[in-house]
């Protein structure tokens, strides 16, 4: 039976989740930003936005996290495992692109060996997505095989059907259990069948033909466009840090004389230090090489290794870029080049 969630029930939803011991993450206004963050009440939830400034990534791969603690006494060391990092959580109101990033990242954190910090948080978290009813010029989910109402990675998908009502679709067993457990928070649709017709879903313009991107990348590791496009790049990490699929990290120790932590921190391929060897040799010593790495990793290397594009078209990197580097523009250039090859000099 079709179910809906009325806005007036948001309160009971949050209370219901709290009662069941869930931590609830939802979009929240923070001066000029809209951030996915912990909420205590429904009043805090902000849904009038295209995209949250932060991605869903940080709830599975935090910007900094302990992976080991230790104590040092003279020359003896004892180690302790971090605990309590995987808290029962519901992410409510994330966008379909963010949700779709999760199964893509599952591949790298599970292949060959399992990163429990990612995996256990994934297991503990239920994703309730709200389909996008609006988009902006930076959105390009439809160009990477997704849509503003994609279900990939979501456990429950909500779609606006009127100003105060959302159609509820359960996507996974986990989602079904959650909906069931909240009982009357979700109500049977007033007019079964019609809600599906009134779904308010944004129209995201298709900007480039994705199938043309990889063939071009296969042939053009050396090409003038890398440098031409990236001269303006200032080499910061904003694009990689706001990206829901960029997952590179650093491991460092932080300690006092007697105890310390080994921590995992976000790191990014646009920093010149990222690949610098101790000897001073740097395999990617210039920004065009680093920019190429970001594009190649997302649209060629990851595809070859894990059979997924490492991009969900959320557009965050382009929105925050200090120098207005626009990733979909780069991909448009690539897709066009693939159709009309020009000389590479």
């Amino acid at each position: 039976m079709e179910k809906t969630l009325k806005k007036e029930k948001f309160n009971s939803l949050i209370t219901g989740l709290k009662d069941q011991g869930y931590k609830t993450i939802a979009p929240k206004k923070d001066s000029n930003l809209v951030m996915l963050d912990e909420v205590q009440s429904a009043d805090e939830i902000h849904l009038d936005h295209v995209q949250t400034n932060n991605s869903i990534k940080e709830f599975f791969l935090p910007k900094t996290e302990k992976i080991l603690s230790y104590r040092i006494e003279k020359n003896k060391v004892s180690m302790e495992e971090p605990e309590g990092f995987a808290v029962k959580t519901v992410v409510f109101g994330s966008r379909p692109c963010d949700a779709a990033s999760l199964p893509i990242m599952d591949k790298v954190f599970n292949w060959d060996c399992t990163d429990k910090f990612w995996v256990q948080r994934r297991e503990a978290t239920t994703i309730v997505t709200i389909a996008c009813d609006k988009c902006d010029n930076y959105c390009f989910c439809t160009s990477v095989g997704l849509a503003p109402d994609s279900k990939e990675g979501s456990d429950v998908l909500l779609t606006k059907v009127s100003d105060d009502e959302y159609l509820v679709e359960t996507v996974t067993e986990k989602g079904e259990k959650l909906v069931e457990s909240l009982g009357t928070v979700f109500t049977p649709a007033d007019n079964p069948g019609t809600e599906t017709l009134n779904r308010q879903v944004a129209t995201v313009e298709n900007k480039f033909e994705i199938e043309k991107v990889k063939p071009w990348l296969d042939e053009n590791f050396v090409h003038k466009v890398w440098a031409e496009f990236s001269t303006k790049c200032i080499g910061c990490g904003a694009c990689t840090f706001v990206c829901p699929t960029c997952h590179c990290f650093d491991i460092v120790d932080e300690c006092t004389m007697s105890k310390g932590d080994r921590v995992k921190n976000w790191d990014g391929c646009q920093f010149k230090m990222f690949t610098l060897h101790t000897s001073g040799h740097n395999p990617r010593s210039t920004q065009d090489q680093r920019w190429r790495q970001r594009i190649m990793h997302k649209f060629k290397y990851y595809v070859e290794k894990f059979d997924s594009i490492l991009c969900v078209g959320c557009g965050r990197c382009s929105r925050v870029c200090p120098a207005d580097m626009n990733i979909s523009e780069m991909l448009e250039i690539i897709a066009t080049e693939e159709s009309q090859p020009v000389n590479k000099e």
Binding site: S230, T231, G235, A238, F241, M273, M325
Partner: protein, 281 residues
């Protein structure tokens, strides 16, 4: 004005006075511009000038990728031109290394950038060629120039601490602030030095505090208030409050404003026996 700019740029490239123009071009949306690097005279039509030209393009003087293109002419607003004065004073560039295409400016940004509200530098104080009608640089009082931080200064010490703790909690350590800063030109930044580890690399409260405070202090008496760090911060941290506060203290104590006069001695790199030392007691 755009036409005059393009004409001059074309002339500079044709005469080989410079190899490249660092200028503003159309951005990915109508509300944005982006840095462009014009090396061919026939490409000068890519140059533009409008109220969205917020960037301080002198930051590309520190980037090897831009420097590789040869001697530049840089489009600078009055505020940006101050950077060149500091860079010359700090021996980072020679005056003859850059051709300064000064543009007169009545303010940028939509809504208008904070720095424009008390602007006393509509016309650059240093240039090789001025584009646009000269606008008289009006003197603006000390109070008015630092009005932006008035509210902040009224906070108690405890409230200030809480305010910054909340702000720095948002920091993700992407280093956009230092990457965009034309005066953050150290080849190896202090955050990249780990023997010893001066600044915790983690984006936790301690690491974020030490990074943001160190960054601001390293710009004390040097920052020319282009506000680029604040503009680019993806976490929306009001970094310019720190810069502005330090600029105010520098002016109060040393009567020095960074980038205003090429003959001024640098506040932090000049020793004087009669320096005001009250602040250090």
């Amino acid at each position: 004005m755009i036409e005059a700019l393009r004409k001059k740029a074309e002339e500079l490239l044709r005469s080989k006075t410079v190899d490249v123009i660092y200028g503003y071009g159309e951005g990915s949306t109508p509300e944005r511009t982006r840095p462009v690097f014009i090396t061919k005279p026939e490409d000068v039509n890519k140059l533009t000038w409008n109220k969205y030209c917020v960037y301080n393009l002198t930051t590309y003087l520190k980037r090897q990728e831009a420097r590789k293109l040869g001697k530049p002419a840089i489009v600078v607003k009055g505020c940006d031109a101050k950077t060149i004065i500091v860079l010359i004073k700090e021996s980072q560039i020679k005056r003859e290394d850059v051709y300064i295409l000064g543009v007169t400016c009545n303010g940028v940004g939509e809504p208008q950038a904070t720095k424009c509200k008390a602007c006393d530098i509509h016309t650059p104080r240093i240039y090789d060629e001025l584009i646009g009608e000269k606008i008289e640089n009006k003197e603006i009082s000390f109070e008015e120039r630092y009005a932006e931080i008035e509210e902040y200064e009224k906070l108690s010490e405890k409230d200030k601490w809480e305010f910054w703790q909340k702000q720095f909690a948002k920091c993700i350590k992407c280093y956009a602030c230092s990457s965009i800063c034309p005066l953050c030109f150290c080849d190896r930044c202090i955050v990249d030095k780990n023997q010893p580890q001066w600044i915790d690399p983690s984006a936790h409260p301690r690491g974020n505090l030490s990074w943001n405070v160190t960054r601001a202090y390293h710009l004390a008496g040097r920052c020319i208030n282009c506000e680029e760090c604040q503009r680019v911060c993806p976490a929306d941290i009001p970094l310019n409050l720190l810069n502005k506060k330090l600029a105010k203290e520098t002016e109060k104590n040393f009567k020095y404003r960074a980038g205003y006069n090429i003959d001024d001695e640098l506040a932090m790199a000049t020793y004087k026996e009669d320096d005001n030392q009250d602040f250090i007691k």
